[in-house]
């Protein structure tokens, strides 16, 4: 499954990084602790978080995360958006809280 399929099926808003919507998805990781993501997320994962600062992009890029989903309509600051566009690493947004979007992602990619 590609990031663009996820966007379409879960009605996500693309905040930045639209040039990376063809990236392939392989699993998902959920954490708001950056060291936890650094230590445990896998290449190709979707990363669901409420953190919006630029270090999120640094971690996502280093770990080769497929895309980031920000929950509860959170918006990212400008340098996060810029890096997402530069790297082609999509920054997505949902109005749902983490629990609900996680359930939807699980049903979509694990079945």
């Amino acid at each position: 499954m590609k990031v663009k399929d996820l966007v379409e099926k879960l009605n996500l808003k693309v905040l930045a990084g639209a040039n990376g919507l063809d990236r392939e998805i392989d699993g998902c990781y959920i954490s708001d602790l950056l060291s936890d993501v650094m230590g445990n997320a896998q290449e190709g994962n979707i990363w669901i978080t409420l953190q919006t600062h630029k270090n999120v992009m640094a971690v996502a890029s280093l770990k080769e995360i497929a895309c980031i989903i920000l929950v509860k309509n959170l918006t990212a600051n400008e340098d996060t958006v810029n890096q997402s566009n530069e790297e082609g690493l999509p920054l997505l947004q949902t109005s749902l809280p983490t629990y609900e979007i996680a359930g939807k992602v699980y049903n979509l990619i694990e079945k």
């Binding site: 708001d32 060291s35 953190q51 630029k54 270090n55 999120v56 640094a58 890029s61």
Partner: protein, 137 residues
Amino acid sequence: MHFEYTVIEGDFVNAGSASSSVKKTLKQLNVSPAIVKRVVVALYEAEVNAIAHAYGGVVTADIESNQITMRVIDKGPGIPDIEWAMQEGNSTARPEVRDMGFGAGMGLPNIKKNVDQLNVQSTVGVGTTVEMIVNLC
């Protein structure tokens, strides 16, 4: 090959720039992806530690055919109890650093898990040197 990067206290915006640069170089050298991943995790954590805790410092990376040696050398304040700092969950990070999702006490344990050799030397009031070696083949 020798690389050197400056670390500025509290400069979270540039956290990961040394790791990103080293990652690109290792990929160009065709180092196996699994090894590159370990190097990146360790170096990123060490970079963030220096930004969050130290009064600035320097990151060096020396790439040889069989190993990479990375050193993060800071100007203090030093770690009073390295054994305590190495335990998962222990952290002295400030509340604003924790709010960013850092300071969970996972940095040094993450480093230890991903390198082949780790040496942490610290003198309170002087500084800390974290030396990390990863075998490349």
